[in-house]
Amino acid sequence: MTEALDLTGRDSDAGSEEVVLTPAELIERLEQEENLRRAKKGDLKVSIHRMEMERIRYVLSSYLRCRLMKIEKFFPHILAKEKTLHEGELSSLSPEELVFAKQYMANTETYLKNVALKHMPPNLQTVDLLRSVPKPDLDSYVFLRVKERQENILVEPETDEQRDYVIDLEEGSQHLIRYKTIAPLVASGAVQLI
C-alpha cells in the first residue's frame, strides 16, 4: 500500500540521523492525481479521492521536509560522502536534493565570507565546514521494530565491567538501543525505526 511504503521511509528518516535511500517511485503516486480529475460524477466519490490525495500529499511533504532538514543540518558531511561514492554505488540523495545541498553549501560559504571572514586577518579567512559542523551522532539511542528475525546482535555496554552480551531480535518485537549497533540492519531493511 502506498502509505505503508511512504511511512516506512518516513519513520526511518525521522528516527535516525543518516539520510536513507529515497525510493523514487513515491513520486509516481502524485501522477495518479491526473486520473482522478476526470471522475466528475458523484460529488462524494470525488471528495473521498481528494481527501485521500491530501493525506498522501501530507505524508510525502513531511518526508521531504524531514530530508531537507537533515541536509541543512549535516550538509558538509553529506556532500563529502557524495564525492567519495565508488562506481555503481547509489547516491542517497535525489538529483534535486543534491543540487539543493550544493547550493546551500555555496550560500553558507558566501554568507560567512561576506558577513565575517572578509574582515578577519588574512590568515584566518577560511573556515573548515567539515570540522565546524557537527557530524551526525551515530551513538544516539533509537527505538526500533524488528521486521526480520536477527540473531546474535552484539550489545556493548559502556560501563567498566566487561559485559558484552548478545541478543536475538524476534520478529515484531520493539527495542531501544544505540543506533550504531543496528545501523547495518536499518540499511538492509531488517528493522524499522520508530
Binding site: 466519490k45 485521500e52 544505540r178
Partner: protein, 185 residues
C-alpha cells in the same frame, strides 16, 4: 514524531460503519472500499469514517474491544502485571479519543469508557516511567519494549533518548587524557 503525526497514522485503521447512502465500489490508492448500501455494515479507514460521520452520512460501530466489561478486564490485567500487556489495538488511545469525540452517540457508556481508557493509559505510563528510570540508573545498553504502543513510545521517547544520549557522551568522555591542562582563571 509528534502526537498529531501518530494520530495521522492511527487514522488508517479500519473501523465498521453503517452508511445511509449508496455508492458503488471505489478504488482508492490505498485499497478498494466495498460498495456502500444503506443499512449494511462496511469497513472503511478511520479518517473516512470520521468524515462521513461529520457529514451525517453514516453511523459508527465501536470496535468489539470498546466495551465496559472488556476494558475493565484489560485494566485489571494491566494493573496486576509488572510488564506491559498486549493492547487490543496498537492505536487504542487514538481510536478511543477520535471515536468518543465524534461519535459518542453511537457508543454506549461513553464516559465510563473514557475513564477506563485513561486508567489503562496512566498505569502504562507509570510503568514506563519506572522502567526508564531503572534503565538509566543501571546504565543498560538495550531494552525490549514489546506491547508498547506508538503513542506511549512517542510521549516519553524524545526525552528518554535525549537523556540517554547525554549520558552516553558523558560516560565515554570519562577516560583521562594526557596533555589536557585546565585553564587558570
Amino acid at each position: 514524531m509528534d502526537a498529531a503525526e501518530v494520530e495521522f497514522l492511527a487514522e488508517k485503521e479500519l473501523v465498521t460503519i453503517i452508511p445511509n447512502f449508496s455508492l458503488d465500489k471505489i478504488y482508492l490508492i490505498g485499497g478498494d472500499l466495498g460498495p456502500f448500501n444503506p443499512g449494511l455494515p462496511v469497513e472503511v479507514p478511520l479518517w473516512l469514517a470520521i468524515n462521513l460521520k461529520q457529514r451525517q452520512k453514516c453511523r459508527l460501530i465501536p470496535p468489539e474491544w470498546m466495551g465496559v466489561e472488556k476494558l475493565e478486564k484489560i485494566r485489571d490485567h494491566e494493573r496486576k502485571e509488572e510488564t506491559f500487556t498486549p493492547m487490543p489495538s496498537p492505536y487504542y488511545m487514538e481510536l478511543t479519543k477520535l471515536l468518543l469525540n465524534h461519535a459518542s452517540d453511537n457508543i454506549p457508556k461513553a464516559d465510563e469508557i473514557r475513564t477506563l481508557i485513561k486508567d489503562v493509559w496512566d498505569t502504562r505510563i507509570a510503568k514506563l516511567r519506572v522502567s526508564a528510570d531503572s534503565f538509566v540508573s543501571q546504565q543498560e545498553a538495550h531494552a525490549k519494549l514489546d506491547n508498547l504502543t506508538l503513542m506511549e513510545i512517542n510521549t516519553s521517547g524524545a526525552f528518554l533518548t535525549q537523556a540517554l544520549n547525554h549520558m552516553y557522551k558523558l560516560r565515554t568522555n570519562l577516560q583521562p587524557s594526557e596533555g589536557i591542562q585546565s585553564q587558570d582563571f
